[in-house]
């Protein structure tokens, strides 16, 4: 009885402390560590929401006549609707899933454009060092008492593996994941070891190897990002959301010129798999894989999905044409 009374008292104290924390420190802490949490609250009643990673942004070091985001270009097509974006660099379906769950069920936002970055399905992204910070933020996207979430951050109750551990996992994938090619292209590391463009010091060789490392994988049902997108689909069906999956453009031309048809075929095969899977679930999938030329990609020394003004406008146009029948 004595213990029961004290437990009740403890529970009351915890509830009070949670209320005090939420009224005082919570907003400042979340703003610093999980700003998207606050973004969701601001835009929860918009008509269309564009969710993406850094691909939405214009390049930082290139002067453009219209340095706006893809989402802003899309909104130009729909001047009469409220169109907003949530962006977080390096984020992916795992984060988008948590963000979608943050939207209140009774919010007015019902249409979402969600980027589907093919690279984010690969082992070097799923085990990236940047995951630790994203995982930390994701703790706050869970609807638990604020004080409990803050405690879980302090306890590191999320996947916060060290850089060494993550790198070891990536290497494991590159050594062991079997690609649909005969040796020596049967694994990423074997493929990278194949002579092309001279030795390791050659910049073309280095970039070619990066294309193999970033796109040398086969997407299947067990891929963690596929599971995240599946969860997004389930949530969308439950809440009656309209979704457009925006498969981002990749630098196919450069991949082809540096590595050859094998890598571009693999990229196409993966995208086809995604298109089939999510179209079959009844969602709109916009395939931008081949939408852009090599010159539209602003990063020249690493494969990314950062586009110049023309590239962003092309993507925006494709999304807008798929979005139009949905919102009209």
């Amino acid at each position: 009885m004595k213990i029961a009374k004290k437990l009740i008292l403890l529970l009351l104290i915890l509830l009070t402390l949670n209320w005090v924390y939420k009224q005082s420190e919570f907003i400042a802490f979340v703003d610093e560590h999980a700003d998207q949490y606050l973004q969701v609250d601001k835009i929860k009643n918009c008509d269309v929401i564009y969710i993406s990673a850094s691909s939405n942004f214009p390049p930082e070091n290139i002067k453009e006549t219209d340095p706006r985001k893809i989402s802003q270009f899309i909104s130009d097509y729909f001047p009469n609707i409220q169109f907003e974006a949530i962006n977080k660099p390096a984020s992916h379906a795992g984060v988008y899933k948590d963000l979608l769950q943050l939207f209140p069920e009774n919010s007015e936002a019902k249409t979402f454009v969600i980027t589907m970055n093919m690279r984010s399905f690969g082992p070097s992204w799923t085990n990236s060092d940047l995951e630790t910070a994203l995982n930390e933020s994701s703790v706050f996207y869970n609807k638990r008492p604020a004080l409990l979430n803050r405690l879980l951050i302090s306890l590191n109750a999320y996947d916060n593996r060290s850089t060494d551990e993550r790198n070891a996992t990536v290497q494991e994938h590159w050594n062991n994941d079997v690609l649909p090619f005969p040796p020596p292209k049967n694994t990423v590391n074997n493929w990278c070891a194949v002579e092309k463009w001279g030795d390791w010091k050659n910049l073309k060789r280095q970039l070619a190897d990066q294309f193999i490392k970033q796109y040398g994988f086969v997407i299947d049902n067990n891929n963690p990002r596929v599971k995240d997108f599946d969860t997004i689909c389930q949530l969308a069906k439950k809440r009656d959301y309209k979704l457009i999956f925006n498969i981002l453009a990749e630098n196919i031309e450069t991949a082809d010129s540096l590595v050859g048809k094998d890598i571009t075929n693999l990229m196409e095969q993966n995208v086809e798999w995604l298109v089939n899977r999510y179209s079959a679930k009844g969602f709109e999938v916009v395939n931008n894989l081949h939408a852009l030329k090599a010159s539209n990609f602003t990063n020249k020394d690493f494969p990314t999905e950062h586009y110049d003004e023309e590239g962003r406008k092309i993507i925006a146009k494709h999304i807008a044409s798929s979005l139009k029948p949905m919102i009209e």
């Binding site: 403890l10 104290i13 405690l151 951050i153 302090s154 590191n156």
Partner: protein, 466 residues
């Protein structure tokens, strides 16, 4: 499993609940299973090592106890010493030996050294120095006839692996811990109360004080060439507070965890930064280790009853070994040597006059030595420590931008004041004297601080690496 982790917050209440629900005869088995689970949670491979150490010491203790002459007893003790110290040498010191001894004379090349170091740094088992010293203490006690060897190897395994103090102490004596592990206990509310209070306060000083200071200390030590003299002095003081709050926090959680099970562990700290001499400091800092060295090294070397020269040598040996115990680096040797040398100076040249007016200057002098020694303890090499010290007295830099947090500084203040207040007693006994309103206000403050303001980077306890 870290004490300040979610798995432990689930593990501990489960173990305590099942422990008191089980009949007495099963309880030690639960503790043994829980302890091995706790340790194996880090890496299953670690279990092989603790099992090996336990097996060797179990059989050598039996052998020593049944040996009918002194030579056989010595052989038994030697096996235990060689095995335990050999494990320590292999896992902790071989990398250092290769880098600082074999590599400079070109016995091994750079690549061989890197391969070796990457393997052994990865393989260094958590808490190996703690449990090897605990089990070594047992065989030495059996050798001197101070302990009767346990006949059940599984019960002995529990003594070696008892999870609250397995990875960072307090290093317990067989005579103190062993009986308690098997004594019949009825559940008492006082266990929950005492243990809960110690754990709560331990978590506060670890998570709110140590973990909040850590980024500032890291920054100052990393940017020691850009920091101003004042910042470097402050960095030293902050590290002193960090390591104390980190280790003291761990010890309190360990003691509190054992208390939940009705078991009392020895205290490890008693307001060490109030010491007015190095001698006093060592009676208040990491007490379980300093008394271990006293009982199992200093006294066997002859204790105080030897010539002045021998005593000087013995004191230096004890302090340098104590430094080396912390890790394989010359910085730890320097740290031990500074303490040993200061201890001797005090012993030979400082009068034992206890006049009150002398206390403050003595306290200042003691703290200067202690904190200078911390610079060596924290630095990665002797050169870096020397550089830090030089900059601390002669830096002309305008300084670096350090993100001070008012709340962290408040926590430091609260911790240091309460530490002085709890000198010679525990937070538990202090709380007992307070009204219910004060008690629950303190609980609320601690809970709110831990849940709302703990450091966001969860650093493993510093002493886990030793």
């Amino acid at each position: 499993m870290l004490f300040n982790s979610l798995p432990f917050l689930i593990f501990l209440p489960s173990v305590v609940a099942v422990y008191f629900l089980l009949p007495q005869r099963w309880r030690w088995m639960l503790l043994l299973a829980a302890s091995y689970f706790f340790y194996g949670y880090w890496k299953v491979e670690y279990l092989g090592l603790i099992l090996f150490s336990t097996t060797v010491d179990f059989f050598t203790a039996q052998y020593i106890a049944t040996a009918n002459d002194q030579i056989k007893k010595k052989i038994g003790l030697s096996i235990s010493l060689v095995t335990n110290l050999g494990l320590l040498a292999l896992f902790k010191y071989s990398g250092w030996f290769m880098a600082d001894v074999l590599h400079p004379v070109s016995v091994i090349n750079e690549v061989q050294l890197e391969n070796f170091q990457s393997f052994w740094s990865f393989a260094l088992p958590v808490g190996i120095s703690f449990y090897t010293f605990q089990t070594l203490g047992y065989t030495i006690d059996v050798y001197y006839g101070r302990a009767v060897p346990e006949k059940n190897p599984f019960k002995f395994a529990l003594f070696v692996s008892f999870f609250p103090q397995l990875v960072a102490g307090p290093i317990e004596r067989f005579s103190h811990l062993y009986k308690q592990l098997f004594t019949e206990q009825q559940f008492r509310y006082a266990f929950l109360q005492q243990g809960g209070r110690l754990i709560l306060y331990g978590l506060f000083i670890k998570m709110c004080v140590a973990d909040n200071i850590s980024p500032m200390v890291d920054q100052i030590f990393e940017q020691q060439n850009e920091a101003s003299s004042l910042q470097l002095v402050l960095g030293t003081v902050l590290f002193g507070v960090q390591i104390y709050s980190d280790f003291h926090g761990y010890s309190l959680i360990a003691i509190g965890t054992a208390r939940l099970l009705g078991i009392e562990l020895m205290d490890n700290f008693n307001a060490p930064y109030t010491a007015t001499s190095i001698r006093e400091f060592w009676s208040k800092w990491h007490i379980s280790l300093s008394t271990w060295f006293r009982d199992y090294l200093f006294i066997p070397l002859g204790g105080n009853r030897v010539s002045r020269v021998k005593l000087t040598t013995n004191i230096l040996i004890v302090f340098i070994v104590s430094g080396l115990w912390h890790g394989a680096n010359w910085t730890f040797v320097a740290w031990g040597a500074i303490h040993g040398f200061s201890y001797m100076m005090e012993r030979w040249f400082i009068s034992k006059d206890t006049a009150p007016w002398l206390q403050f200057p003595r306290w200042i002098a003691t703290m200067i030595i202690v904190f200078i020694a911390w610079i060596f303890f924290r630095s990665e090499s002797i050169e870096m420590a020397a550089n830090y010290l030089t900059n601390a007295v002669s830096s002309t830099s305008a300084g670096i931008t350090i993100e001070w947090s008012t709340i962290s500084l408040s926590f430091i203040g609260i911790f240091l004041l309460s530490d002085i207040h709890f000198k010679n007693r525990s937070i538990h006994s202090w709380l007992n004297e307070q009204s219910i309103l004060v008690r629950w206000s303190v609980y609320s403050f601690l809970i709110f601080s831990i849940t709302g303001f703990a450091g966001i980077t969860n650093h493993p306890f510093i002493y886990f690496q030793f």
